[in-house]
């Protein structure tokens, strides 16, 4: 059970002055239950790629296999693919339209043709998964705060019980706390339900501590595809393509250059602190308090 992308190309506005090769020969395997960060700046092709995964866009050439079946086969059921690969767009709150939160979340499962009981059960479950209180059931989605609206929109996709959940910039426009809350919730969701999660972002720092694997895109191509630690080791190359590794990566590398024998692998503040303390303790015998 996996997604295999094979030599996928996407060219739009072919033959006009605006012709653009948005995806260039993409080869990728996404395994079941993985938590992936898809990074790239605006125009790198990351959003285009995600829309190919649930069939909203069709590649100019190449194939995508979902659980071993080619989704570009004539007989392939695209509608069922959209049920299995849930896609949460950027600013998903802009798609809310129902009079109440609950009705809006029911929209997806209702389109799946489930019976009323199933629909409501799923909607309740989805609300719980994104951490929405039950007393918001009957609230108008337009009266909620930005962070809450976004949760409603994510719940709307989760209620369809996808096997793969793709979130395009789920933290855009949120404040730092709101951002951490949403990311924590997604990480929790991944752990609990074990669905495959693809987190699309332009911020390395945000996703580094959550994901198992980072896929970095640049100009329609895959630039890096590895664990965060290994990707960040190329921090100079990342900079060349307009992305930056987390600040701690720079700190660790700089320390090493200056002769302090730290490992350069830490990517979070916590890891960096441990590593620096470990080396300093050993090297200097400094009196260090641990709390």
């Amino acid at each position: 059970m996996s997604i295999i992308i094979d030599k996928l190309n996407y060219i739009y506005s072919t033959g006009t002055a605006y012709e653009k090769h948005a995806l260039k020969n993409i080869n990728l395997v996404i395994n079941d239950g993985e938590f992936i960060g898809l990074i790239g700046h605006t125009g790198s092709g990351k959003s285009t790629l995600t829309q190919h995964l649930n069939g909203l866009m069709k590649g100019t050439s190449g194939d995508i296999y979902y659980n071993g079946e080619n989704i570009y086969d004539k007989n392939y059921n695209m509608k069922s693919l959209r049920n299995k690969v849930g896609l949460v767009f950027q600013y998903p709150e802009h798609q809310l339209f129902e009079t109440t939160v609950f009705k809006d979340i029911c929209f997806g499962p209702r389109n799946q043709g489930l019976d009323e009981l199933q629909i409501e059960l799923r909607a309740y479950e989805a609300m719980k998964m994104v951490g929405l209180d039950n007393d918001l059931l009957d609230a108008s989605p337009f009266e909620l705060s930005g962070g809450q609206k976004r949760r409603v929109a994510i719940a709307g996709v989760l209620a369809m019980k996808p096997e793969v959940l793709i979130l395009d910039e789920p933290t855009a426009g949120l404040d730092p706390k709101g951002r951490d809350e949403i990311l924590d919730q997604i990480a929790y969701l991944h752990k609990e339900s074990n669905i495959t999660v693809i987190l699309v972002s332009h911020s390395m720092e945000d996703v580094a501590r959550y994901v198992d694997r980072l896929i970095v895109m640049n100009k329609g191509e895959i630039a890096f595809n590895d664990t965060p630690q290994k990707v960040f080791a190329n921090y100079k190359e990342l900079e060349a393509i307009g992305l930056a590794a987390p600040q701690v990566t720079y700190v660790m590398n700089e320390l090493k250059i200056r002769g302090i024998p730290v490992k350069t692998t830490p990517i979070t503040v916590e890891e960096a602190k441990e590593e620096i303390l470990r080396v300093l303790k050993k090297g200097t015998g400094l009196e260090i308090r641990n709390d």
């Binding site: 605006t42 404040d175 730092p176 332009h202 911020s203 600040q247 700089e254 300093l280």
Partner: protein
């Protein structure tokens, strides 16, 4: 006496039902006193809903206080006769780059403000050229705004304000909808305007990295100014910032954590270099 001053500024959003009875009162700003000097680069930080944008909208009289007073260049912003003088001199850039560009050609959009002020045609052209040069968008003057990146659109919006020759620019979360490159681009532009053109800058944001360029920072929470100081002073209080739903740059947090573990590292570290230097000195 500063260019922007507020005294016990209070603002309430009052919601009324269909019969006009008061349904709810939401106090967005609660007795705020600020004083900003001419030429300052001030950052106002706060989480979403902390009242920072509401405060910003008082500076150029888009909103007027429910209680208390706001002065811009000694003009009371509640005084309707002064409205256009205030708006000419206190320009405002908004969050969504698409929703503040009026014209279909970059240079025509920059000319919109001066046109409204009744500036003679020749002067408009000169101002448009100066402003586009100041934000580095001259080569795009005949482009359509739709084809620009978010950061470029915001720079056009800033040029549109600069063309009105303001003394102060208020930027209401200008980077919230941009990617990291666009964010840097906008902040760099704003910083340059502050340094070269001596424009007073009020930057509203919740991105901590952007605050570093400021010479003064206000932190808002629940409609009140809860912290005030230089970026260094503000960033040395990591715990407090977290309490106000804010964040600090990773280096600052790492420095704070190391210090808490007993290393002698100075407070309020803002850059990678500072931290590395401090650790190497140990």
């Amino acid at each position: 006496m500063g260019i922007i001053r507020s005294e016990n500024l209070t603002f309430e959003y009052i919601r009324r039902d269909e019969e006009g009875n008061v349904e709810s009162i939401n106090r967005a700003i609660d007795h705020v006193n600020i004083d900003v000097q001419k030429g300052d680069f001030v950052a106002i930080l706060g989480h979403n809903g902390s009242g920072k944008s509401t405060l910003a909208k008082h500076i150029n009289s888009i909103l007027v206080p429910t209680e208390g007073t706001m002065w811009f260049k000694d003009m009371n912003t509640s005084d309707e006769d002064k409205l256009w003088d205030i708006r000419q001199s206190a320009g405002m850039v908004f969050q969504n780059p698409d929703n503040q560009i009026i014209a279909t050609v970059v240079e025509e959009d920059v000319g919109f403000g001066p046109e409204n002020l009744g500036v003679p045609t020749e002067d408009i052209w000169r101002r448009v050229e100066e402003s586009l040069n100041a934000v580095g968008m001259m080569e795009y003057r005949t482009h359509s705004p739709n084809k620009l990146s978010g950061g470029q659109k915001q720079r056009v919006a800033i040029a549109g304000i600069m063309a009105m020759k303001p003394e102060c620019i208020v930027l209401d979360e200008p980077t919230a909808m941009l990617d990291p490159n666009g964010r840097k681009e906008v902040i760099r532009t704003v910083k340059e305007l502050n340094e070269k053109e001596k424009v007073t800058v009020i930057l509203i944001t919740h991105y901590m990295e952007e605050v570093i360029s400021a010479n003064k920072v206000f932190v808002m929470d629940e409609g009140k100014v809860v912290m005030e100081g230089t970026p260094k002073e503000i960033f040395s209080k990591v715990d407090m910032l977290k309490k106000y739903r804010l964040d600090v740059p990773q280096v600052t947090e790492l420095a704070f954590e190391l210090k808490r573990s007993g290393l002698s590292i100075p407070e309020g570290i803002l850059s990678i270099k500072e931290l590395v230097d401090a650790i190497c000195k140990l």
